[in-house]
Symmetry: C2
Subunit: 175 residues, 2 copies
């Protein structure tokens, strides 16, 4: 759905109709609504894939008492989904930043990812409280590292930004 | 706006019209829209007060190198805003949990609070990365502690739940 992003970038998200988005993708408006609940969802196509990769990484992780490390390693695996297309992520972030309703949707996606992460941790025997905190902290690390990655040309890979952000959290919590 | 919450609880958020909410509050629909951007905002009346208390606590905190501790102390001060009316918080949380558009709005409020917290920390000389991580972690702690507080009758005060959640985060990060 790169072309939908182009439309939003050129003429603004609010001013772009669902019909225009559908036409750009070469489908009817009716077909569009079979695949997307609303216009906003077009920008969150990768969210499901991202979540699947993260959950699979948690499920596949060796048993460990370091729950945060398990989560951060999974976030690094998730980063690989976005790593190859930084310019798309940058353009997408710009459209989202300009529109509060898109920000709300993005936050809901992060929240859903966090809930799924917590459930995967509990399934490994982690206590509910530790699972929730680790999952939410993982989402925080992902979010902040993402901003560093797309905002700073010299920041290195997304996975590297995740590790740096995690190290900073550890340092802050060890005060 | 306790009566709006009653309406939402009785007949559902979606099925309640703005006119009904306005009438319950004894104002016209037009007056309602002078005070609230939309129907959802009625449930986030306390968010601004909460944020003001938290930011004021950060501004007033003694100089410290323990940034997370500064944030958590401010969250404890914020907890006092909600402490006295646990049953309202419980009923409100139930309405929000039943409605994705309300969840989105709540997440946006947390995000706004987190941005304001980060700005207050930066104004005290904290580095942008440390400020962002501490602010987001503070919001995480607040959110998780809130759920414990309203969900568990034996969990103690909201402020106590915040301290417990914070201690768990520290333990997880010190692995």
């Amino acid at each position: 759905m790169r072309s939908a992003l182009e439309l939003f970038t050129e003429q603004g998200f609010e001013k772009t109709t669902t019909l225009e988005v559908a036409e750009r993708a070469g489908v009817t408006e009716r077909t569009f609504y079979r695949y997307f609940a609303d216009k906003r969802e077009v920008l969150f196509n990768a969210s499901n894939e991202l979540q699947s990769v993260i959950i699979a990484a948690i499920d596949a992780a060796p048993p460990s008492t370091d729950v945060l490390e398990t989560v951060v390693t999974a976030m690094e695996a998730g980063a690989a989904v976005l790593e190859e297309n930084r310019s798309y992520s940058q353009a997408r972030a710009k459209v989202i930043a300009a529109n509060p309703s898109l920000q709300e949707r993005e936050l809901l996606k992060f929240s859903t990812m966090s809930a799924a992460t917590s459930a995967a941790l509990r399934a490994r025997g982690v206590s509910p409280l530790a699972a929730d905190i680790s999952a939410e902290s993982g989402a925080t690390i992902f979010k902040i590292a993402f901003e560093t990655w797309i905002g700073d040309d010299s920041a290195g890979t997304f996975a590297h930004c995740i590790r740096t952000t995690y190290n900073e959290l550890r340092a802050l919590a060890q005060n």
